[in-house]
Subunit: 157 residues, 4 copies
């Protein structure tokens, strides 16, 4: 059982979120592979049971690099059904596109047949930060990682 976290980060904010998401996966007792988008390969998708994608908010969507990763993943289309997915994003301001970015990532993962769980306790669609993640946001990130990992365990039992 392994979860892949792929993130893009310019300022370092999304990277900080990625580390907190990784902690959450570990708390759930699941192995994790953390990859900056520049080092990520879609081939790793064949060896994991979950995929969590993080991106800075660029014009209300994930960055072109993240999009290119997903476009490349068409190579494995139809083979990722039932994998567990998740999303996180860091924005420059409040209500400047974090929700649309996370929602867009979720929709890309749905098209791969993935399984996603929302959250009733705030940051419903995934984890979002405005600027650098504070302690609250880091906790939300940890919970996201934990949620994905626990769900992957249940489903792959």
């Amino acid at each position: 059982m392994k979860i892949l976290i792929v993130y893009d980060s310019r300022s370092g904010n999304t990277e900080k979120m990625a580390y907190a998401v990784m902690e959450g996966v570990k708390i759930a007792g699941v192995e994790v592979l953390l990859k900056n988008i520049d080092e990520a390969s879609v081939d790793e998708l064949m060896n994991v049971q979950g995929l969590i994608i993080g991106s800075p908010v660029y014009y209300g969507l994930p960055t072109a690099k993240i999009k290119a990763f997903i476009d490349d993943s068409v190579k494995y289309h139809g083979k990722l059904d039932g994998m567990v997915g998740g999303a996180f994003a860091s924005a420059g301001g409040i209500h400047t596109g974090a929700e649309t970015t996370i929602t867009a990532i979720n929709e890309m993962l749905f098209i791969h047949g993935m399984i996603i769980q929302g959250s009733s306790g705030g940051s419903h669609f995934g984890a979002a930060s405005v600027g650098a993640p504070d302690d609250n946001v880091k906790e939300t990130c940890r919970k996201l990682g934990e949620r994905v990992a626990k769900l992957a365990k249940k489903i792959n039992n």
Copy 2:
């Protein structure tokens, strides 16, 4: 184990879809409760492990009646986490709002902490029809019901 299907229908098209979704749930061997929105009560949410919502496309979103049902469900907010969700919609034309309607339903269910699975094989976000559902659309609806029921079984094992 029980799945609740709640649908609104004016012309009868969404109702036909609802019956096909119900068949899919039964194929998976799971009990199903089918309710027209006029007879549905949010109290039933406490007795089911899955919720599938169907609506005609009205201005790119579910109908006001469906929205009222979800608004009322705030009564159980925080108690539906981990339930499995799904969505279907019938539109008057191609690309006139079926995707935005289904996506909106999915997002409402995420806010309840529900779990949703996409599909890699077309109609990715849920089942959509243009006008009355033909055999292909009915098959998509059956698959939606089956997908939700199987996932609910796995998760509640």
Copy 3:
């Protein structure tokens, strides 16, 4: 030349935003009609050149009352093309659905053939508040009202 503002409000937060949006319309020198959803009639749509809708965030979408208003407006479908539109929303928390609510309102107005302008300076899709609107949010609301009014003037010249 007249702009209609229709809003729903439970706690009073969206109402406060509506008043600030109204100020913005007046600053642009355009007449404004402000209506609580309980007193609004779709018939007023025939007498205005712009429509701005405000809602609290309920499950990531406008309230059922706002949705019912738009559903009723089908009576004038095809007669509102070229009207100017706008949206605002108040949420209970950061990134809990304000963007999806505003985006949903925009999409409903698009289906009426309306014209909407984004904003490059934050709160891109419309005006959003977390809880009661502070001075910054009120200024964003005023700018929204002004933007809609000025665009309506240009288009109806």
Copy 4:
């Protein structure tokens, strides 16, 4: 007065749509610049009053190349306010992401402060095709080009 059309195309379907959109702009008597994404430069944005973007549907969003173009356009952020925008997309199937792709393009343009008009007569958010555009879709594309061009003329009068 000039409108820029930027499109990506693998199979040629989106390119065919782009030519029909171009015809619509010309019908409205406005000059048009048609650019394949591989030859497009964001610098051209400073010389036009409208931007229409077309993309194949890749995982429910525009392609990475289109996204990279918009990411690069941050260079002119704040200088494109009031420009008129539009979107079109070609998908592999019905309800496989054309609406989410068009909606995503519209949202990117909103973040640049652009002005977009919906359509009350079908294909509300922009022009969509399933596979190669047939005569109906080409007519929808022409209307999109005409709508953007006419609105740009009104606004820049």
